[in-house]
Structures are given as C-alpha cells and as structure tokens.
C-alpha cells in the first residue's frame, strides 16, 4: 500500500506513514493545491474574493511513474477529458490529483462511493489538474473505469464511467469543501503602514455569520469593544461615547454622507462588496479628518475573474442580488438591494386595523442601494477602478382608512456617487488618486402638504496620496483631500388662506458653497522593536464666506519586544466642523409619543435615529470641535491567529459653541469627555469553534464651561454614557455544513431625562421633566442565536439562516412608559423576541 501511495502521488514519507491500509486510505490523502496554479497578481493586494485558505500548503515531490494501463491493441482505447471544480462556485480546482483505474467489479456508471477495503487496481494512471482545473487522459482502455479526484480541504469524488473505443468522453466533477473556515482573523506579522493604536478588522465571512447582526457590516461592529449598543439595537455607530455624527465611515477614501438607511435599519452597502472593514475607535491616521469620534474604513473589493458568479438573497425585510465576473483584463461587480419592509408593515397594520377597528398610524420605511464596480489593470502594475454606487430612502406616513385625517408626511433622501481610483506601486513609490462626484437630494413634505423642503447638493471631492517606502525602516506619506459642495434649497409653505393651487405656496430659495480641504503628512520609522508614527493634518472649512481652520498633530508609538507582545500609545488632535444649524432638521422622533393610553418620552439618544437630512445651513457661525485623543493598548497574539488586548482611552472634546451675538463667550460652551477601558479576547478554540469576548467600560460626560447663574448643573452624563458593555460570542461549525452561533450581551442602560411630575390642565397633564439625563435605564441582557445551513450543489450553493434576537424574550428597557397623568411609571418598552430568516443562492 505504501509503495502504491508513493508511486501514485510521490508523497513524502510522512504522508505514507499516515496513510491507512487499503485503497480507500490511499485515496484520502494527497498534497494540496500548490502555488504553481493560478499565481495571484503581486503588484496589488489581492482583493478578489472569496479568499481560498491555503493551510499548510506543501510543495509536492515530483510525480513518480504510474502503473501503466493495458495497451490499446488489446481493448481499444478512448479519451477522457475532464474538469475539477469547486462545488457551489464552479471555480476551477487546479492541482487536484486525478486518478484513473479500472472500475471495481459490479460497479455501474455514475457516482461511486469507495469501500473501506478494496483490492489493488490492476493499473493506475494519475495526473494533476491544470490551472483551469482541467485534466486529460489519452489512451484509456475501452472499459469501465473509475475516476477519483482528490484535493486537501475538499471532499473526494469518485465516478465510474465507460470508456469506448475511439470516443472522447467529458467528465466535470465538483468537489465540495470539507470544512468551512468563515473566521479568519487578520493578524499582521508586521505593523500595518497606517498608524493605529487599536484597530479591528472584520472579514466578509465573519460579518455574514455573526449572530444578531443579520449580515450587516456596520451592525457587526457592535460586537467589538468601544462600540455602544444603540437604542433598539439598531445600526447607529456610537464609538467611545461620541455621538454618531462625530464618527465617519469612509468608503474607497471618501466619506459616506450617511452610513445607514432609514431609522438605521441597514447599512447603505452590503458586506459582499467589501474587501475588508477596518474599525479605528480613536487615534486614527492623519489621512482622515473632519471627525472627532472614530472612523470605519472600507475598501471595496474587486470582482472575481474565475468566471461569472453572483448571488440572490431574500429575507423578511429586503431582497438583494449581485453579479460579478471578468471583463477584459479586469473584473466587475454589480449589485443592488431593495427593501420591502414598508409593505410588510403596511400589511400587518391593515390586519390589525381590521381586527381592532382602530386606526394604526405608522411610519413606513423603504430603501434601496446599488453598487457598480469595475477594476482594470494598467501597465506597470497600476490599477484603474471605476465605481458607482448610491442609496435612496423614503420614509412616509401610512394613510389609514380608519383615521379621521390622512397624513401626507414623506421624507426622501438619495445620494449617488461615482469614483475614479488610480493606484500604482513601483520601486518603493505608491500613488493613489481618486476623484469623486456625488449628487444628493433630500425632500420633505409635511403638515398635510402645507410644508415642503428640498435640498440638492452637487459635491466634487478628491484624494491624492503618495507613499514613499525608504528601505525597510521608513515610510513617508503625503496627501491631500478636499470636498466642494454646491447646494441649493427650496422651502415652500402654503399660504394660510386657501390651499388650492401650487401658486399659493410662499417660496424661499437659497444656494451656497461649502468646502473642506485637508492636507496631511505622516511618517513611519522602524527602530528595532519600536515604531514611531508621527503625523499631522491641516484642515480648512468654509461655508459661504465663513471659514475655520485647524492643525491636528498626531502620533503613535508601537513597541513590539517579540512576536507575541505589542504595546501602543497614541496622542493626537482631531477636529470637526459644524454649522450650528447643520443638524438633523427632520426631527421625526416626537418627544411625546403616546402608546395605549400611556406616554413615552424618548431618550436623547433616539434623536440620532432621524434620517440625516439637512436642509439649510442658515447664516450662523461655524464651530470647530477639537478633540484630544489619548489611548494605550497592550496586545498579546496567540499562535492560532487569536489575540487578547487591553487598552484605555481618553477623548476630551471642546465643543467650541460660538459666542453669543454681542461677542461674549457662550455660557453653554462645553466639553464632552469620555474615558474608559476596552478589552478583547479573540480566539479560535478549535478548527470549528471560534469566539470572542469584548468588554468596554465608559464614562462619558458633558461639562459646561461657564454655567449661567441659576443653571441647575455644571456636568451631566452624555447621551451615550453606556457604562458597561459586554459581548460574548461563539460560532461553531457542525457537520453537513451547519453552523450555529450565539451572542450574549450585557449592557448598562442609557441615560434619560425623567418625568418627575406633572401639571394638571383642562383635559390633560403637562409633564415636568427632571434634569437632563438624570436617570438611567436599567441593565439589559439578551441572547441571540443564529443557525446557518448550506447546501452545496455542483453549480450553486444554497444558504439559509434563522437569526433570533432576544431568545429568552426579556423586556430590555428601551423606553420608560408613564401613566396618562405622568405621576407614575407604567412600565418599560423593549423589543420582544425577534426572529428573522433568509435564503440565499450563490453561484
């Protein structure tokens, strides 16, 4: 047996010792696909996906001669031409070992299952599949033969077929992957060229399988330290206590105008177009500005070139699809998503109304997004990418046939963006040039059509960056970015006389120009175990004829005494400009919503669930928030790619509220301060089991610098002061392509402004509010479960998932309900158990 094994594979002695006796054992071991097949382009990081794992890739020995088949004169000969492909993806499988031998006695044509004990075949021929997965056997004796295909990491396939004299037969074989490896922690052996104290990355596979996140890339971030659990568990990014609008999401080097659809239900882009997602909660690089919280950096991936592929997915809220493949020397991706949750909610409301006879008023969200990406290699290792993507949201009030009045409320927010990206690396120089154009439109109709607003923005932006690598010890980056926004607004208010014709609207038009300009430089100096990363960014902000400037120095020190340990320290200044009126002007979140006779007042944190629709900047001064970031992290890397890290952070932000009209300083000028600890342990326990535990301790306050006389406080909790946040997450791969995941979350309640009493008025009670954020919601905890199942067929893979949030149906307080007279609390409102399910087909 061992001799046959050596002859068939030229395998090493180590493999021979491992092989059990019998042909079955012989056929279950083979060297893996080698680097000789499909060598990737090394001039740019490989961004085609999915990445194929190459665990323990072994260079094979040279093939030994096969045991020859009988000559053609005896039986006559035929030819076999075949292809080995990965099941479910149709991707060629190069380097697979293909063995042809006589079929066992009694076998019939078709798929064949090897027996545990089999006699040695009379003859054996073998070869490896080529770069396209192809194999070819000429001069096979006309008879029943058995073809076996083996590759490490894939199930073997045996097939019996009849070879006829002078006939060529074709045989495609699809090999399913043996084990899934959805979790691949990126632990760089060298520090990345961009400075960071704490950076976390999520892969597409992780995003897809994390329980409770429903495959959404930005909601998956909530499982990492430093990211708070927002109200209702929706998709706001609250990073180290900073309000969502103080952090930014950059896609392809340009900031997204908003990262989430209506009510933060989903991100404006799907996980499938991402190469990787990097999250930096603070002390981020000088290349990114106009943010004082954290940043999320997303790079789109390139389309696959190994054939035409895609997917289609439906779940309870939305449907999405994607197509990708080669195009000339490059590749493309086109994808789209369309939500229909408005239809689902409207149907549920109709049913409820028919049962209860009471009108059911709802806000119905609907959204779509699309992406079109094209990448093409250029001479000298350069790459050109053309990208177009956009997002649209509509939020409208449902008109109930049972209601006395219908509502015309409708809010529509769209953006469309086109990017060009030129990248080149050569001789130690790396260049990135990326201009971009974006068109935005926001429309609001309210007050029974008595009030209309519209804003259009035409935004040109660009980023140019040059990186010079000097030997192995130094790197210098210089860059600039700008954004120029020409906006126009139209306000229409119905004449209070008679609302009959459009000409009865009073119109007010405005237009103007807003701009941000940044220049930055940073260096990387490796001095043995110490790496220094100094940098600075200069920014200018203008709105009309008003301007503001900032200079932000930043620096990071990394110390890596060995391969396992790393200590990072960071200190830097971060600026963000805000026009006073440049805020969410929609204010959909009503502060006095009644529910079933009780009343609820939403904590301030809910205000950020309003769609990010800004209409008129108005003629006010700019203020530049200036934040100091200081952080320190100690990291220990396990051998399996996991790690443990413990860090501390401080964010001290002067809000620079503009002076009052007479020029004196504003008594409500304030400092937002957050300090805390973050811990993360990320580990692959076995090949099938991975998990992590993340904990964040945060103290976030607002301090008034010049309290007016009689003002009731000088310091109060920030709207996002979430004291404790613990996430424990496990995912386990079961046989037959099942996967189960669980997430347990324990979170402190957010602050809220309590109602402390009420004034009795004719017909009702007026609530009296206590001090801002003087109370806190109770602790909440929940368990989320997710089950995934894949069916891998030859040409496609079907996946289904069930994701259940709040499995034990705990009422985690999101809102406080008051009795109708506000003299007592009637209870809490929280989300019940919430299942969702979806089906997806990949090919």
């Amino acid at each position: 047996m061992v001799g046959v094994l050596d002859q068939a594979f030229g395998a090493s002695r180590r493999l021979a010792r491992l092989a059990p006796c019998g042909l079955a054992g012989l056929l279950m071991l083979a060297p893996g696909p080698t680097a000789r097949a499909g060598k990737p382009d090394r001039s740019e990081p490989d961004r085609s996906g999915p990445h194929r794992t190459e665990p323990g890739a072994v260079e094979p020995d040279r093939d030994e001669p096969d045991r020859p088949a009988p000559g053609c004169a005896e039986l006559g000969c035929g030819r076999l031409i075949g292809e080995a492909r990965i099941a479910g993806q149709r991707v060629p499988l190069p380097g697979a070992v293909v063995i042809v031998m006589p079929a066992p006695a009694g076998a019939s044509p078709g798929p064949y299952r090897a027996a545990a004990e089999e006699a040695e075949p009379a003859w054996v021929l073998s070869q490896r599949s080529d770069a396209d997965g192809g194999f070819r056997f000429d001069d096979l004796p006309a008879s029943l033969v058995r073809v076996a295909v083996l590759a490490p990491g894939y199930e073997r396939r045996d097939h019996v077929m009849e070879i006829e004299r002078d006939v060529t037969v074709r045989l495609p074989l699809y090999l399913p992957a043996l084990a899934e490896n959805p979790f691949r922690t990126v632990v760089a052996s060298q520090p990345p060229s961009r400075g960071h104290v704490s950076e976390h990355r999520l892969t597409k596979e992780e995003i897809a399988t994390l329980p409770g996140s429903q495959g959404d890339p930005l909601r998956a971030l909530q499982n990492l330290p430093g990211v708070a659990r927002p109200p209702l568990g929706l998709g706001l990014l609250v990073i180290r206590g900073a309000a969502p609008n103080q952090s930014r999401v950059f896609m392809g080097g340009h900031a997204l105008p908003r990262a989430f659809h209506n009510l933060s239900l989903a991100s404006v882009f799907p996980a499938d177009v991402l190469d990787e997602l990097r999250y930096q909660p603070g002390n981020f690089d000088a290349a990114y500005g106009n943010a004082t919280g954290g940043v999320v950096l997303i790079e789109p991936r390139r389309g696959r070139r190994d054939g035409l592929h895609g997917y289609g997915e439906v779940d309870l809220a939305a449907a999405s699809a994607l197509l990708e493949g080669p195009l000339g020397k490059g590749s493309f991706i086109v994808g789209a998503q369309r939500a229909y949750i408005d239809g689902v909610l409207a149907t549920a409301a109709s049913v409820t109304e028919r049962v209860t006879g009471e009108p059911s008023s709802l806000l119905l969200p609907r959204y779509y997004d699309y992406q079109a990406l094209f990448d093409h290699p250029l001479p000298d290792g350069a790459w050109l990418s053309v990208r177009a993507f956009g997002s649209g949201d509509v939020l409208r009030a449902r008109s109930s046939p049972y209601a006395a009045q219908s509502s015309s409320f409708r809010l529509q927010t769209d953006f469309h963006r086109a990017d060009l990206v030129y990248r080149r690396r050569r001789n130690g120089w790396s260049v990135r040039l990326t201009p971009s154009f974006r068109y935005e439109i926001n429309r609001l109709v309210a007050g029974s059509d008595a009030f209309r607003r519209r804003r259009r923005d035409y935004i040109g932006s660009a980023r140019a960056e040059v990186v010079r690598t000097i030997g192995r010890r130094a790197e210098l980056t210089v860059g600039t970015d700008f954004e120029l926004d020409a906006y126009s607004t139209l306000d229409e208010q119905a004449d209070p006389g008679f609302l009959t014709e459009a000409s009865d609207y009073v119109q007010e038009r405005m237009h103007g120009l807003q701009a941000t300009l940044g220049s930055y430089a940073s260096a990387l100096l490796r001095l043995g175990p110490v790496t220094l990363r100094p940098g600075a960014r200069a920014s200018a902000f203008t709105v009309g004829d008003r301007a503001a400037f900032s200079i932000d120095p930043r620096g990071i020190v990394d110390v890596e005494p060995n391969e396992r340990w790393r200590v990072s320290l960071g200190l830097g200044r971060y600026s963000q400009v805000r026009s006073i009126a440049d805020r969410n002007e929609v204010d959909l979140v009503d502060q006095s919503t009644g529910i079933q006779g009780a009343s609820v007042f939403l904590p301030s944190a809910f205000g950020n669930l309003d769609p990010a629709a800004t209409f008129a900047p108005q003629d006010t001064q700019l203020n530049v928030r200036e934040a100091l970031h200081a952080s320190a992290t100690v990291q220990y890397r396990f051998g399996d790619g996991g790690s443990a890290e413990l860090g501390g952070f401080l964010r001290n932000q002067h809000n620079n509220v503009p002076p009052v009209d007479d020029g004196s300083s504003n008594p409500f000028d304030s400092v937002s301060r957050a300090v805390g600890l973050e811990a993360l342990v990320r580990h692959r326990v076995t090949d099938k089991l991975y998990g992590w535990v993340a904990y964040t301790l945060t103290f976030a306050d607002l301090l008034l610098l010049q309290t007016p006389p009689g003002f009731p406080y000088t310091k109060r909790p920030s709207d996002y002061d979430q004291r404790h946040n613990l996430v424990a997450l496990l995912s386990y791969a079961l046989p037959e392509h099942w996967r189960i995941g669980a997430r347990f979350r324990l979170v402190s309640g957010l602050p809220y402004t309590p109602v402390v009493g009420s004034v009795a008025l004719p017909g009702g009670f007026q609530p009296i509010f206590g001090l801002r954020n003087a109370a806190r919601l109770p602790l909440s905890h929940q368990l989320d479960l997710r089950v995934d199942k894949r069916w891998i067929r030859d040409r496609a893979t079907v996946s289904a998932y069930v994701d259940v949030q709040n499995v034990y149906n705990r009422v985690n307080p999101e809102l406080v309900l008051y009795a109708a007279d506000f003299r007592s609390e009637a209870g809490y409102v929280g989300l019940p158990i919430f299942p969702s399910l979806g089906v997806r087909v990949d090919w």
Binding site: G597, G710, P712, P754, V756, G757, S758, V759, A760, L761, P762, G763, G764, Q766, I768, F769, G770, L771, A774, D821, R823
Partner: protein
C-alpha cells in the same frame, strides 16, 4: 383611575363684580368671565379614594402669570417668587397672590398705558394664568413641593394645576377700551364674538344611566344600583344653561351659537371603559360586581368654564 389625591378641576367663579360691565344677572350657573376689577373665588377640586378633599385642608400657594399656561415652568425659582402688587392684570413676571386652599383674587384695573402699536384686545385676553402648588394632608409639605419643583426632583404627592382666567365678555372688553379712547383692533366681522354673553361655568346636576333596556335620570351625587358584567352607559344630562346658547342676527337670519361641551371621566376602581375616557359626554363601562364604583365627571365648555359631579355605582353580584 383615582388611586391618590388628584386634581380634577378648579372651581373659578366671579363672586364680586367690579366697576365695569353690565350687572351680572343671577342664574343657575356661576359666572366665569371676569372683567378688570372683578373678584374671583378659586378652589381646587381634589379627590382621592375616599372622595373630595376639603380645600381648606390643603397646604397651598397660588401664583399669577401673564400669557397662557406654563406658569409653573418658566425657569425661575417658584419658591422665590415675589408677592403680586395687584396693579397688573397680567403681571410682567410671575408672582404669588395668596396662600390656602380657598382663595380670592381681585383683578387689577385696566393698565393706564397700553402700547398702541399693534395692540389688539386679544392681547389682553391671552391670559392671565393662575397656578396652584399644594400638598394634601399627609403629603410632603408645601415648601418641599416648591423646592422639588425648583430642583426638578420627583414630586410624588404634590399637587400642581393651572388655569387661564378668561377675561370677558369680549363685547364689554371692547367697549371698555373704546371708552378709554383705545382702538381695540377688532375687525368688522366679529359680531358673533361681540354678541357672546359673559361665560358661565357648566354644572353636572343630572346624569342619564342606561343598561340593557333600562334608562334612568339620576341626580349627581346619587348611589345607583346597576347589574354586574353588563354594559352601563352614563351620559351627562347637560341643559341649555350649560350650553350658554345665544343668538346673533346674521344676514337677516337668527343664528344660534352654543358652547362645545366636553367631559372627562374618572373612576376610583379598575373597570373596563369601553369608550369615552375623555371628551365624550357619554361613557360606557363594564364593571364586575359586587363593587362600589365612584365615577367623577368634569364638564368643560371650551371657554375655560368647568363644572364637576360624581355618581356611585353599586354594582350587583
């Protein structure tokens, strides 16, 4: 539902007329509209599980503010408000005018100088507002309630209420201003408003009780036996005096106008209210006996006038 001391209404009536306006005729309903110089009596209607609390047992203080409502939440310290001088109908800043559960307030005379530019009579009619802060027997005490209100701390056990003191009738207010040589700023199409007589408080004197085929008219304050687990309908039997109906000649036609009456219902026992918790003159209940259920109803006329009554339902077993 009444589970503790609760302010249901505020009794406000003109008890002494000042120097202006036609003499107030006697009638079955108390006058509500007041002119400058009139004296009003104020007393809160506070009930608990035992019934109405005697107003004189409340530890209370009263304040006067300009404008409509918000008298207690203007941002200043209510515990430090000065005593009213009595020379302004609508004081420039909030002030305290009386202490105790039953108080009187004499409205000041017309201001000697009224800003002429843009002034209309409605500027006088938008207020003033009177507010009361009180502590019932066994409560935290008046001073504690005032300091808690200032500190925005929990005000459990404290009673707070506000009402707009309606100046009127409009016709007599306009006449007053014209006599003083001031253009009241009222348009030519205000005949219906000018003709409206002095408003009076509605009153709850009788209620109609129905269940099944049985309908009775009972006096407010009665005990009425009703069956258990049967829908019971209660309706305020409002009269013409409550509606304050008056007629105006418009384009050679006599047109009648009445007050829009609304009712607010309160119970001291947990029963199922099928409809009419607020606004309707009729409420429908489903009570499970045996039980005694006290029903309170406050009747309002849309012009700050209000009256109240109660009924005990003896729900059979």
């Amino acid at each position: 539902m009444i589970t503790g001391p609760r302010e249901l209404a505020l009794d406000v009536e003109v008890i002494a007329q000042g120097p202006y306006g036609e003499p107030i005729a006697t009638g079955s309903r108390t006058p509500r509209d007041a002119l400058p110089g009139d004296t009003l009596a104020l007393a809160p209607v506070v009930v608990d599980a035992e019934g109405r609390l005697d107003p004189t047992e409340l530890e209370a203080t009263w304040m006067l503010c300009n404008g409509i409502y918000g008298c207690l939440l203007r941002g200043d310290e209510v515990s430090q408000r000065p005593t009213c001088t009595g020379d302004e109908i609508q004081p420039r800043s909030p002030c305290r005018f009386a202490d105790g559960g039953r108080v009187t307030l004499t409205l000041a005379d017309l201001p000697e100088q009224i800003p002429l530019e843009g002034f209309t009579v409605f500027d006088l009619l938008t207020g003033p507002t009177v507010a009361m802060v009180a502590s019932p027997p066994g409560g935290p005490g008046l001073e504690a309630c005032l300091s808690r209100l200032d500190a925005r701390a929990r005000m459990d056990g404290c009673l707070l209420t506000e009402r707009v003191l309606g100046l009127g009738p409009l016709g007599e207010m306009v006449a007053l201003l014209e006599q003083a040589g001031i253009d009241p700023g009222i348009g030519p199409d205000a005949d219906t408003l000018l003709a409206r007589p002095r408003n009076r408080n509605p009153a709850v004197e009788e209620l109609v009780v129905s269940h099944g085929d049985e309908t009775r008219v009972v006096a407010a304050g009665s005990v009425v036996a009703v069956p258990s687990d049967v829908e019971i309908s209660l309706t305020v039997a409002a009269t013409d005096d409550d509606y304050d109906t008056y007629e105006v000649e418009l384009e050679d036609q006599r047109v009648s106008f009445s007050d829009p009456l609304t009712a607010q219902w309160w119970l001291d026992t947990e029963v199922e209210q099928l409809e009419g918790t607020s606004g309707e003159l009729t409420t429908r209940l489903l009570a499970e006996g045996p039980a005694r259920v006290r029903v309170y109803v406050v009747l309002r006329d849309g012009y700050d006038g209000e009256g109240w009554g109660w009924l005990d339902l003896e729900v059979g077993g």
